[in-house]
């Protein structure tokens, strides 16, 4: 990939390569954390044909992103089984510094990474819900987002995070706007000399992208993910 003339965007085929790379590396590096998985979706679900080609998206579901009130790093935690009782949940949460009031407000995230043909970049879709499955109101989501995200939301209410229809699930999800993605991906790659020289740049595209975008919702990427092989 010739970084100098590259505009930071990728093709659908490249997205698939990058997605596979993310799934594999994540599994290897953080085998204890919940895995990203690829979800295949038929393009036209109403056609009963074996030849219908299949698209898909990356999914990481049922995770807790706890924001600790002192604005320390957000932690990536284990998914909780929905059928456990309240007291069981408290014991199985593996977060040392969780305060009592935080525990009452635990909310779960589903994160999906979907390719946008218009912008030619990945796009983050997410939902947030309480342990009973009840979705959070947008006002409450704002409270759970890291401080810098909440501020950006204040400044650009309609253009930063919006609710849109999930391209595959056809339900309302929150979406992070992809408008500037190409530009900052290009900057990111240009700024990293080793990436620029490395022919396998596409394989780290999604991982690099996620390390930026994940910060919006408070997803921390294990450091090892960002090391070159």
């Amino acid at each position: 990939m010739d970084i100098s003339s590259w505009d930071g965007t990728i093709s659908l085929a490249e997205f698939h390569v990058a997605a596979r790379a993310l799934v594999e590396k994540w599994k290897r590096v953080s085998s204890a954390s919940p895995p990203w998985s690829w979800v295949s979706c038929p393009k036209q679900p109403w056609v009963a044909s074996h030849e219908v080609s299949v698209e898909g998206y990356l999914s990481l579901e049922n995770i807790i992103l706890v924001s600790i009130k002192e604005e320390h790093d957000e932690l990536l935690s284990f998914p909780q089984k929905e059928e456990t009782s309240c007291s069981d949940k408290e014991e199985s949460i593996d977060i040392a510094t969780l305060s009592q009031s935080d525990r009452d407000e635990i909310c779960y995230y589903d994160l999906h990474i979907v390719y946008s043909a218009s912008y030619r970049v990945p796009v983050l879709y997410f939902r947030v819900y309480y342990s009973d499955g009840e979705p959070l109101e947008f006002e409450d989501i704002k409270k759970h987002l890291p401080a810098h995200s909440a501020k950006t939301l204040l400044d650009s209410k309609w253009t930063f995070i919006t609710q849109e229809e999930h391209p595959y699930l056809k339900r309302p999800w929150y979406k992070l706007h992809p408008c500037g993605t190409g530009e900052w991906m290009k900057l990111l790659f240009q700024g990293d000399v080793s990436l620029a020289r490395n022919g396998a740049a596409i394989e780290v595209y999604l991982i690099s992208w996620l390390s930026f975008v994940g910060q919006v919702v408070g997803l921390r990427i294990p450091y090892e993910m960002l090391n070159q092989l």
């Binding site: 003339s5 044909s49 912008y119 391209p167 339900r171």
Partner: protein, 360 residues
Amino acid sequence: MMEAQKYVWEGAIPLQIHLHESEVTTLPPPLPALILAPRIGYLPLLIPHIKPHFNSTLPPGVDTVWFEYKGLPLKWYIPTGVLFDLLCVEPERPWNLTVHFRGYPGNILIPCEGEDSVKWSFINSLKEASYIINGNCKNVMNMSQPDQVELWHSVFNAGNLEAYLKVSSKLKLGTAGHEYSANLNSGSFVSRQSTGDTDATGQVKTGRVPVRLYVWGVSEDFDDLEDAPQIDSWDKISYINRPVEIHGEEGKCFTLLDAVKSLLPEHFQYKSLTNEESSKEEGEDEQKVPSEEGGENLSEDVESCYPSDNAEVKLVRIQGIEPKLEIPFSWVVHNLMNPEHFLHICVCLKVSQVKIPSDG
């Protein structure tokens, strides 16, 4: 050229809007509201005109307005004309819709906070179109405040085409087939070649065109529109939001059919027109030209029969008309696109087997 745009801009659909019976608290129940809805507009923008009609009969509570057609909640961010073309295969006049002021189906429909939601959905679509055409959204993001207001008002009122064109031209969103230099992500060249048979625009460019395709399928042929199956679930429609890529090729005209096929590669082995094809098309019936009256028979399939195609295009509807599929795509785009610069195309495909979707 202005003519076609003017017709599109002024196109409207007569609606007869009934209040859902669960929300009628008075006797006699209110009569339905009759309103002419601009094709290029959006249903929530009609609410200020409809609400007074039903105000006195509504139950107490906060308004959360939504529309439905035959039980199907309508997606408010799809232009009214597209909803009509898609859901009313045989055009119904007036179009009978039901309005609800309570009980918003938030698990299916994105919330709508009135005009602001619609405006920002429009602007975000415009940014997306701009990105597709130019590779960036800068011109939209850098619009002056007065220009933004002017743009939105011209769409909101669907009144002033001149005002819209004035502001819109500043955005430099000339689409393929017009004079602009394409700055493509792939860095490919601009080809300036006129096609053999002159189309009004004259030039074929390499570029990406914003298109939103709404595809539904049938497994059996139907000759009359009234025999077409009713779409009663959004699961029966594939929404394809993907730009059409045009590669200008000398002597070849990129047609509307080419464009549709290129977005459905799983059904069509898309190839550009060969000599073999052109002669085949001469022998086929001409597709009937636009008519908004219902009940016309569909013309015979203009599909060419590649052995590898596993579907046939039965119906292509744009802005309420069924254009001849051989029309140059660039003409269609320039004249029939919506104000946010997307071309919305409703397509019915005949496929060998249609699955019955499960509920939910």
